[in-house]
Symmetry: C2
Subunit: 328 residues, 2 copies
């Protein structure tokens, strides 16, 4: 009998989705960042649940208050990718016996702080006994059905863009997990990206309100995997023509002779929004993001040919899927 | 530094609630079965998240399809206790590497089956890598704010009642965990209560619609603990005057010379609703439940004196709190 690590997370999810009775007139189809349920008057409730598992998701040096913060960001980022303003956060906690109450209190403080940072409320949840610390979060928000951004609307010729550059978390994991070094200030800025990630909530809401985004996803599984998911849902390919690498990641790559594309494409735990738009709407989108303090990053173009490639020094290379749960 | 097992779950939760920024005009206060957020026109969205941890929540012989079913029941039961019809279920799964895909598929089938049984839809969720199988569920429904049943409304003199008798799961755990025996048919009926629990969804919705229930809670933490929680929120005591023991549990108690009150009070994982009403409304409530195929079980009375006692053969005895996460 096959195990989930033989199949990988994406095929496991595909099998799961095949077993679920579809909800009629579902506002967001399966294989999306979040789920939605119709309310009255064209409104939808949008829900997301995502779990933070200490043994696999918490790198060395991360404090419990940061873990709580990140549990909120993970869930709010998926609402942001659909253009939904989160109103509430809940969490189910698994806690091993012997956990110091102070660790629990720090987790809670981090969740409350993050929820308030995004103008939402932490409404509590549930505590359970388990073998390791797990924070299973829930994000809730309400949006206009017609304004939801989906993974499925990208068309050939659309511009591919994001709310920020990539690679800082991939570099930080090399510092935290593989022991690579970096000068103090660079190190601090890189690990901050892992310890205190930000969800692009205002950006996502503004993009949805602009009405010109054709498809959107968050980049939590890494740029490469997110492009694969966007490609699958939209039925297009992507050609990444500009290396969207953060300054810090570039400095780190230079320092250690690392492949810049690898850092930008195959990281993860980075919460930018990746989206598409008609090239003619680029000024509208740039101005929309500017108003919430964000620079538009142009990455490439959606193509009829369904391949995913990046162009490095004039040469075309295929984009792999990158890291996947269970596998590797 | 104190650990959570020194404090116990209830004090841990109390500390947690003290750290959370309260949401203004919260439709359901903290220390409730579920959380609520105001929508328009007197409606509220109601959310619950509760986690099923394989190592602590799954007794021997329970199949993955039953585990999926139970994860839904746990969450829907809390909505039912507030009088809310669940519309949707989501789940975050932790799965260890090496988990057979068939186990995952059975979990999903159980969740889909349970959601559909209660006329709701399973909308998917998220998969993660973890050390053991964990199903963190989310229930969602919409209700009229004015119809929500709370833990806090019981008044001295109110009748204490439930949607069913207790003790079957406590007996079943003695069979499954301690190896006690029972004749085939009795054994089957008892373990069925653990493997295939039912949430009192129609009953909870009907009770809320009757408008005469003064306080309500579900009995998932056991009758004794639920009475303590109801007592704390309502500021009343309870006098349990009739032993609410199921026929099967009574037969099992007789067979093994077990204390019937112990079985009824200190079990758990039983999903009845425990509620209070004015004695003059008992006929309305009995008829309300009868219409959804449920018999009202009269248990006792709410008292001004805040003690919790049960009356056994004319003698008053205190009701302890029973089992608690982390402790014991």
């Amino acid at each position: 009998m096959k195990t989930i690590d033989e199949l990988g997370e994406r095929e496991t999810i595909e099998r799961i989705l095949g077993l679920i009775t579809p909800m009629p007139s579902n506002p967001l189809p399966p294989w999306e960042d979040a789920s939605a349920i119709a309310l009255s008057e064209g409104l939808v409730a949008v829900l997301k649940t995502d779990m933070l598992v200490w043994s696999t998701d918490v790198p060395p040096g991360m404090r419990a208050v940061d873990v709580g913060w990140k549990a909120v960001v993970m869930n709010f980022s998926d609402l942001a990718a659909k253009g939904v303003r989160p109103q509430a956060f809940l969490a189910s906690l698994a806690l091993p016996r012997g956990t110091p109450i102070q660790v629990v209190e720090e987790l809670i403080r981090g969740m409350d702080e993050a929820a308030r940072h995004y103008d939402a409320y932490f409404l509590g949840g549930d505590t359970n006994e388990g073998g390791e610390i797990i924070v299973s979060g829930v994000a809730y928000g309400v949006a206009e059905r017609g304004r939801l951004m989906r993974r499925s609307g990208a068309r050939p010729g659309d511009m591919l863009a994001s709310t920020g550059p990539f690679g800082a978390t991939a570099a930080a994991f090399k510092i935290l997990l593989e022991g690579l070094e970096a000068p103090g200030d660079l190190r601090r800025r890189l690990v901050e990206a892992v310890y205190r990630p930000k969800a692009r909530v205002m950006e996502g809401v503004a993009l949805a309100e602009s009405g010109v985004v054709t498809a959107s996803i968050d980049s939590s599984d890494g740029l490469a995997m997110s492009l694969h998911d966007l490609s699958k849902s939209s039925g297009v390919g992507f050609r990444v023509e500009r290396l969207p690498l953060s300054e810090e990641a570039a400095e780190f790559a230079e320092l250690h002779g690392l492949d810049s594309w690898e850092l930008a494409l195959y990281g993860g735990e980075e919460y930018e929004l990746i989206f598409t738009l008609r090239p003619g709407d680029v000024d509208v989108v740039r101005e929309t993001l500017r108003r919430v303090g964000c620079d538009l990053v142009e990455i490439g173009v959606a193509t009829e040919d369904r391949r995913l490639i990046y162009v490095d020094g004039g040469e075309e290379r295929p984009i792999g899927r990158g890291w996947e749960h269970f596998k590797g």
